[in-house]
């Protein structure tokens, strides 16, 4: 199973500021009544983007100028709460291919990693400056360089952090681990045997 080598993600970006943006906000639970992930992109941040009667309200994802963005920019502890993979699936299906934030909740990060969505962290200053530039010019092209662990835009760039394990998996096309896990099932069974559980 050949996977894409994800060295970098290039595209326009949308800033959605805030701390502790949880996965219930990213995809409300009522949209998880499904047996496939198809169509989840339509419900991304649904309740943040709509009034109760379904009319759109002020939200960066509703703004015309940010349509087509593929890089999501946010704050501290992004993706906290529920382990629902529906959250990164919704982001992916809405066209997002990378997330830049001050920090990530762990389960969300892991879910993104297995879907090949780089999640990189940066300082609040660098994110604030990038967000300011995006506000001024939403057409700004941003590059999340996974290999170099840097973000580039216009003439500027800044360092980001991504754990070595995730970086290695992305750039070498090993982000979905199933192939390697399957190769090692005898070792898993040996482990069960060692523990007297076989």
């Amino acid at each position: 199973m050949a996977l894409d080598l994800i060295h970098q993600v290039r595209g326009r970006a949308v800033p959605v500021p805030g701390s502790d943006i949880d996965t219930d906000r990213i995809i409300p639970a009522r949209f998880m009544k499904c047996v496939t992930f198809d169509g989840l992109g339509d419900y991304l941040f649904y309740d943040m983007r709509h009034e109760e009667d379904g009319t759109p309200k002020q939200h960066p994802l509703n703004e015309e100028r940010y349509q087509g963005a593929s890089i999501f920019v946010s704050g501290v502890n992004f993706g906290c709460g529920s382990s629902r993979e529906h959250a990164p699936q919704a982001l992916y299906r809405a066209g997002f291919r990378a997330v830049i934030a001050e920090s990530f909740a762990e389960i969300f990060f892991g879910n993104c990693a297995t879907l090949g969505i780089p999640c990189v962290t940066a300082t609040s200053e660098d994110i604030a400056e990038l967000s300011r530039v995006l506000e001024e010019n939403p057409q700004t092209e941003v590059t999340v360089d996974v290999e170099k662990a840097r973000v580039f835009y216009n003439d500027a760039n800044f360092t980001v952090h991504i754990p070595d394990t995730a970086r290695d998996a992305l750039i070498n096309g090993r982000w979905d681990p199933i192939g390697e896990l399957l190769e090692n099932t005898d070792k898993v069974d040996a482990c069960l045997e060692r523990m007297g559980l076989a």
Binding site: K33, E52, G75, E85, P163, V188
Partner: protein, 475 residues
């Protein structure tokens, strides 16, 4: 140099090293439910894979089950389809399924322990972030995503990176009316919603030594709300006494061997931790949240924060956002905030001892007229035990609705939902925006007895005053 339980379990379960540097970790026990598993089975079918060890996966249905309907098919066709899909997947892949007719169905984190499936020293994964609940037994238990559910089904293992370990000691005596829920709300408020990222939390100290298994489960359940994916308590006599005789617990000679192994898996006295936090039990009060993140909490005697209390601009923005959403006045006492709905239940506080504790005090009281109060047992077994003791009738007499087992209003994937901006006093684990089913619904987290007090008074109240709680808490 000694080792912590986490290190011992990690080392014994590390099956292989992966090329990206992660570890392929053996998962002893896999729990699944109807919401996060169907896509994983879809991937299994697409890839032509079999479940490697079907005897190590257990299924139940909890998130979407209605709590006021008794017969399938259920009114909601989507819910009905999801329940049927889990049945099909369990049948096709040979997985044990505690379904609605089994008498054993319930919230996955209530079912595992009561069946004795949850055992010390094991690794337990489930597509649900509250899986750390099982850590109460000295298991290394954590939530996973759906693609990882596929990995565990196909290989009985998954890719993981090792966590650091933070020991959290709670020593001293809890004041009367202070419960396990208050302990974890206090810990989260102290360390923050992201304080535990990268850590496993090991809970210990006098308070945990005295805690029952159900109290330990309440604390471990909410470790993810503090950012830690996994939280545990070292196994001890309390753990063994709970597990003895449970359906899946070892029997006879195997039991003695198992207990010896479980004793050995506990953290060594001379082990080192990456971090240690000490908390004085006497400092913990009945706690409630005021915001939209579980770390936005105060004591019942406390106040809603003012913007000027914020230490940083980001914190100020968070307070502002939370106050706008919660429609609370800055600086106002949290006590006295009017409520519309009261919910006792969830994987945090939906066990027998939770309902017993409320029943002990609520007799002779009546839910306020304008409050809708529902009690939802965490499992069919919890419901049956409560009904045997007459607890259901005590709740009914007080004006609560007594429902069937499920997750219910904790995340409102079934018909139990807030309406509009209703405010719910809730014994659940998350006060996120829209969490309880209405996009503008509001949640205040608290212990079950505090929910009962709020239900009776019609506003956030101090259970110690409402019910004259004077004896020591159930510790």
């Amino acid at each position: 140099m000694g080792k912590s339980l986490y290190e011992k379990v990690w080392e014994s379960h590390a099956a292989a090293q992966l090329s990206n540097g992660q570890t392929q970790l053996l998962i002893d026990t896999h729990l699944i439910h109807e919401v996060t598993s169907p896509q994983a089975f879809g991937m299994m079918r697409d890839l032509g894979l079999k479940v490697r060890h079907p005897e190590r996966t257990f299924a139940t249905v909890d998130h979407i089950v209605p709590t006021d309907e008794f017969e399938e098919p259920f009114a909601d066709p989507l819910a009905d389809a999801m329940i049927k899909e889990l049945r099909r997947n369990a049948d096709d892949f040979g997985i044990t399924y505690f379904d609605l007719k089994s008498g054993k169905q319930g919230i996955v984190h209530v079912v595992g322990p009561e069946q004795g499936i949850t055992q010390p020293g094991t690794t337990i994964a489930c597509g649900d972030s509250h899986t750390a609940t099982h850590g109460a037994f000295g298991a290394v238990a954590f939530g996973i995503g759906t693609t990882q559910v596929r990995d565990v089904l196909a290989t009985q293992s998954m890719a993981m990176s090792k966590l650091r370990v933070r020991r959290i000691n709670v020593n001293g005596e809890l004041p009367p009316g202070v419960y396990a829920k208050d302990v974890i709300l206090h810990i989260i408020a102290q360390l923050g919603a992201k304080g535990g990222i990268g850590y496993a939390y090991e809970f210990g100290g006098d308070v945990f030594d005295r805690f029952t298994m159900e109290e330990r489960m309440t604390v471990c359940n909410m470790t993810i709300e503090g950012g830690a994916r996994c939280g545990y308590v070292n196994p001890d006599e309390t753990t063994f006494a709970y597990l003895e005789g449970k359906p899946y617990s070892p029997k006879g000679e195997d039991w003695d061997k198992a207990v010896a192994a479980w004793r050995a898996i506990a953290s060594d006295a001379d082990c080192t931790y990456d971090d240690i936090v000490n908390i004085n039990a006497g400092d913990i009060a009945p706690s409630v949240t005021w915001g939209v993140s579980p770390d936005q909490g105060v004591s019942i005697e406390g106040h809603v924060p003012r913007l000027e209390d914020a230490a940083t601009p980001a914190e100020k923005a968070s307070i502002q956002e939370a106050l706008d959403y919660m429609k609370l006045e800055p600086g106002a006492p949290i006590k006295g905030t009017p409520i519309d709905v009261a919910f006792v239940g969830s994987c945090t506080n939906g066990r027998l001892s939770d309902f017993r504790e409320v029943a002990k005090y609520i007799q002779g009281h009546r839910v306020a007229e304008n409050v809708k109060a529902i009690a939802v047992p965490g499992s069919q077994i919890v419901a049956a035990l409560c009904e045997k003791e007459g607890i259901d009738q005590i709740f009914l007499d007080a004006g609560f609705e007594w429902r069937r087992a499920g997750c219910s209003m904790c995340l409102a994937m079934n018909p139990d939902k807030l309406i509009g901006d209703q405010l719910c006093a809730s014994s659940s684990n998350r006060n996120f925006k829209g969490r309880q089913g209405s996009p503008i619904g509001r949640t205040i987290l608290m212990s079950p007895l505090m929910v009962a007090a709020a239900a009776v008074r019609g506003c956030v109240s101090d259970a110690r005053e409402v019910f004259a709680v004077e004896d020591a808490a159930a510790v």
